[in-house]
Symmetry: C2
Subunit: 231 residues, 2 copies
Amino acid sequence: MPAAAFKSVRALALFHDMADANFDRLTKAAYLQRFPAHVQLIEEGGAADFLHVVVEGCVELFASHNGRDTTMALVHPVSTFILAATLKDRPYLMSARTTMPGQILMIPSADIRTMLEIDPGFARAMVVELASCYRNVVKELKNQKLRTSVERVANYLIRQQKRHPGMEFALPVEKRALASLLGMTPENLSRAFGALRSHGVEVDGPMVRLTDIEALSAMARPNPLIDDFSS
Amino acid sequence: MPAAAFKSVRALALFHDMADANFDRLTKAAYLQRFPAHVQLIEEGGAADFLHVVVEGCVELFASHNGRDTTMALVHPVSTFILAATLKDRPYLMSARTTMPGQILMIPSADIRTMLEIDPGFARAMVVELASCYRNVVKELKNQKLRTSVERVANYLIRQQKRHPGMEFALPVEKRALASLLGMTPENLSRAFGALRSHGVEVDGPMVRLTDIEALSAMARPNPLIDDFSS
DNA sequence: GATATCGCTTGACGCAGATCAAGGCGCTTG
DNA sequence: CAAGCGCCTTGATCTGCGTCAAGCGATATC
């Protein structure tokens, strides 16, 4: 594995407290692979043979049922996904596909489970990581059940703005995927952007500028117990 | 703590691998309390001072935002709730109230976190427990995003039926709470029951009889990746 | 035993958001 | 450069579900 990738994975909270020897052992058994855009990495219902780490690019987690399907989350570098299935040795609950070219590190699940037994630091880090994942899904569920679609869009934009230093930022994925993540159709996302124009939202292709955060916040009513993905 | 309660808590997977001395220490610092029905135990946003265990009765987890509120989960004996907030030492994301008289064991969060450091068996069990919680919320999110309200009701009934040996069973909570859990209004839950009559669903007060599981399943389309809460 | 209260049901209505259809724009491809 | 395709937008229409309002039955209260 290239030194840069090695270093960035090592820096993850999940692997930070791990003994050096154990981390080396884990990465020796792992594969770092490049993928083009729009490649399906895992399929819902399949066996959880690998823990995946997005090193570069972006991965969309989605789920299907009865012909419908919905985006569950977007995973950005550097973070892991489908940790829980790996640990429980249970089928994946979500499928995953790349949204752009990137690099994925795949670590055999069996090695992760072994490491859990022998490295207490890793076990503790895992507890914290899983607790965070759990809380993030709970927030997403609250977001879905307690807000209208326009409110979800508005709060999404505010959250994105906070991650970016400048005045404007680019949507990280296609609008159709964003719409699905927010639990709405692409048509209604367009209309929502239109409705938010009067609250200082300017959308031009993938670029977004929020010219009046005050006004936008007043209608969006952000709530740390839903929107703060770091707590 | 009475022997019966002690034993049932000890039997939880979460505490099963823990050293005896550590479990004793944990329970010594804990409070077992009786509560009447409809008492709020914790408030969303509050500090996570205790890990709670439902020993008897039933607890409703719910969340509020902007005047709306929604039931997030129903917790039956014997299981823990708000594990993640306890571990991360972060504010609760959900409020909790009893739906009937019962007993709750409250273990100081600080003790749980200490135990995580010193008892590797506990840390491992915690990983598995959190992974299960995470997967259950993911399933709930899929349930919400991929199904109509009538489908959610139908699948809920099928799930309940599986837990009960006999021909009929009682709804575990008031219909209004059930409606909220299923992401709909009480009015629409009534109408959904009406619509399901033609699929062999007979509802009389809190009692439910499914006279034609085949027909019900045909319309509900249960899916283990959404409905199987044990995997 | 009359009355009030609460949980549930039923009907009428309105709205948010899905669906259907058409058209525009920027990209790729020959 | 033209043709074709994918993504997005806009408008028209449909519908699932929420809201509002009234009524019903069981339990509680005096």
